[in-house]
Symmetry: C2
Subunit: 255 residues, 2 copies
């Protein structure tokens, strides 16, 4: 399994992905699920992937390989992030056309998703979610984030905290808390986490961090968040009817 999330804020873009892949519990490995295409001053493009690993890797490798042929429309010469999302959807379709039927013979799912975001000189930052069928949608102000993979455990904190005007530091903190919640509830999502930040209009990748098991900051966040939640929980009042239960012997007929 995988967990990836990307935020499009007024201040910039935040991307994060875990590194665990698994094919059965006895085969867990680390592969990067974040690929970065950068030409400083011209474009920064970050791709996060989830789903069948051979499909996602091949699609991105194809995207990269096509980029070597200057005569064709490719990731280095298209003029907008919309075109980039379209190219990525096309390479995904190409790989699934090539391999999907063979995988299906063994009931192996060839589906895959991508989040792709960044900025190309001449237009604003943009963020897209590419579906398994190769079609895609774009993030707006109302829902300024996308998640792929094991998305639900980590969504509540993002729903509560993230708005378009959230500061980048708070956004990164929120993303790490979201990963912490996900990893606690699903063993197939795990460290290390790759985090990348892009500041609006910088046209260069502004920050990357590779967070491993030994990362003191992540350990601290994880522990303090857990303790804090327990503290808030303990401070919530019991209603009268619950107090009656704990004190009680048996209250027949309280229905």
């Amino acid at each position: 399994m995988t967990y990836c999330v990307a935020l499009k804020l007024n201040a910039g873009l935040v991307f994060a992905s875990d590194s665990r892949t698994n094919a059965g519990v006895d085969q867990i490995a680390c592969f990067k699920k974040m690929r970065i295409f950068e030409r400083a001053g011209d474009r920064v493009i970050v791709v996060l992937s989830s789903g069948n690993l051979s499909i996602t890797q091949n699609a991105i490798n194809l995207l990269e390989q096509h980029g070597q042929y200057q005569e064709r429309r490719n990731i280095w010469n298209v003029a907008s992030m919309f075109d980039v999302a379209q190219l990525l959807g096309e390479t995904l379709r190409e790989v699934r056309d090539h391999d999907g039927a063979f995988l299906a013979q063994n009931n192996i799912d060839s589906s895959a998703n991508f989040i792709v975001g960044g900025q190309i000189s001449g237009e604003a930052m943009r963020l897209f979610l590419v579906y398994a069928e190769g079609n895609f949608i774009e993030a707006g102000d109302e829902t300024p984030f996308f998640q792929i993979g094991e998305t639900k455990y980590g969504k509540p904190i993002i729903d509560r905290v993230i708005h378009s005007d959230t500061a980048l530091s708070d956004a990164v903190k929120c993303v790490l808390v979201s990963f912490d919640s996900t990893m606690r509830s699903n063993l197939s999502v795990g460290l290390p986490i790759d985090v990348a930040c892009y500041l609006q209009s910088s046209l260069g990748l502004d920050f990357k961090q590779h967070i491993t098991q030994d990362d003191p900051y992540f350990s601290q966040i994880s522990r303090r968040w857990s303790d804090g939640l327990k503290g808030v929980f303990a401070s919530l009042p019991n209603p009268d009817w619950l107090n009656r239960i704990d004190n009680s012997a048996h209250f027949p007929g309280t229905e």
Copy 2:
């Protein structure tokens, strides 16, 4: 969609279910997803259901109807909760056999899940999860809870708080927080919530509460939990590298 959760603690059992069902966004209705079979001094059995509403209703109605025939093995005369889980699985199979193929003709999913728990005089409290195929598993001390329906958003708080020795009042509070998180992230889960509590060996239903939109306690829990989370989040430290981002113009080459 639906969210139901049940906990098996040393002190007793806690059951909770939402009441929203939907078939498309324009058809949302409230139906109870909790059914209680009680004969004081002999047995208390609580069933929570998720999935296709006609299937779950019919299965439970059948379970109830079979109970009127004393000559057959039924929910009122079997000697163990294991037998109850088996009966429920059998009625589920019966209904799916009867209706499943007709639903499948219109690509309607006939799958359904149940949680069933309680106590029958002569044995301890027990809690089971019945799968859509009619087979089932029992909760143990290590994982003293089951969820069905839209389970993931509300799981992190249960993972953090619930152990076998959690007090019933804390358990009910935790369940309500879990519902609050779920309802925030998925509109198809909604109030009212039905909560039932059973105290170990009481052999009578000890408490039921129907929590509606106007419930002052639930509103208070929801608001204080939200404020508390935001407070804990705000208190988490930023790492050095994030502080650099917010202060910064652009940090080229920090990779």
